[in-house]
Symmetry: C2
Subunit: 224 residues, 2 copies
Amino acid sequence: MLEYLTLTSVTCSEKDWIMEKTITPEKRDSYHHGDLRSQLIEATRILVEEKGPDHFSVSEACRRAGVSSAAPYKHFKDKGEMLRAVALEGMKRQRVDLVRELEKYPAGSLDRIVAMGRVYVRFAVDEPGVFRLMFGLSEGHAEHSALVETGNNTFAVVQQEVARYRGSEAVAPEDAHKAFLLWSFVHGLSFLTIDGKLAEKKLDVDLEAVLADIALRVVGHPTD
Amino acid sequence: MLEYLTLTSVTCSEKDWIMEKTITPEKRDSYHHGDLRSQLIEATRILVEEKGPDHFSVSEACRRAGVSSAAPYKHFKDKGEMLRAVALEGMKRQRVDLVRELEKYPAGSLDRIVAMGRVYVRFAVDEPGVFRLMFGLSEGHAEHSALVETGNNTFAVVQQEVARYRGSEAVAPEDAHKAFLLWSFVHGLSFLTIDGKLAEKKLDVDLEAVLADIALRVVGHPTD
DNA sequence: TGTACATCAGTGAACGCGCGTTCACTGATGTAC
DNA sequence: TGTACATCAGTGAACGCGCGTTCACTGATGTAC
């Protein structure tokens, strides 16, 4: 699938750890675990990648973490809460990626607009399962305020950057509008990529070129 | 959710039938059914809307169609084939919508570009379940050639229209590129809408305005 | 028009399965004295 | 330092459930004569 999205970029993806990290079936030394909560989150994350958010099962996560199927309920209310924990971690990771990538370019530059798109699509490609979990329609997500706030916070950064590109620190309505256009675009591109539609339509897409193109079209010209 | 996407448009959505159509639990007159295949597809479609493609169950569809849970296997190989039948119907319906909407505007006009986006987003909003089924990653979809061909066919129309806007009948690489940009954009907008992200981010979007804006940005200026 | 027969759509019971969650429990750990 | 005890993370067995699919069957229908 991925051959259809060319990821030529200065920044190579540093997310190899994501998949190579395996949870060893837990030759545990003691009755107690020590760090089960985070091990369960990690097992859940891996499963979400392997099977997708809708085919994740608590039982399988327990098997992976080497723990009885009742154990998670000492740390999570229910299945949904495990998934939300993974989604939240994802949002934070995405946020960190974003800030780290932005730092590389001068404030107010078009490169920074492009960088934001790169981070978004990269995240989707590197962690499609978690990406779906973060942005798909999942019950209870909207009520998990930490999740919503982290997301809003990240989007605020995008708006901020658009304003800055215009030379302002304050976000005007037109900046918000353009930020939204950018979001829609990279969101669509991300899903088309991870759902294999680029491959299906035999579309060869050079990510950097497309991001630069769209950035110019959205933010490069004055509008409304 | 939908309050955040304003659908002001000449064309009111004509899809009310979609949800009001209920399958009566089948007071059947005879042992045989007559039209079970299409009734099952319809039951499947409704369930896909109600619960999402990943929470559809054969058993429930049978209950809705008033038929034993073994009955579908006289018409479909398995569960996946039922879903693919619904997806295919969806693709055809979308195709019909598209052609019908295009007819309303003069050949080569910007209105036609906007119309295509309108049809796409409208479809997603009217039938989010089927939309997800059509464009999400579902096992076996890529191997169902009728499905892929119908999709490719529809995308070819978009490319054609972009070329025509430029005044050509032949699709140049730049037309294909622009068609892809348009697709990414409306695809992202569709998902952001049906996944409730516009609501979450308190973004009020006027569909017609946004479509016109993006059409201009993508197709209104010469590029590469 | 009437009868024999082939067809095959739909039945209903059964299968094995893995799931999410509960429960009373156990045993390792840390703390108070 | 040593002992008693509270805490609570993890156990393992059990629960009821709905699922997808199979199977030998049944009975309505259409056709050939």
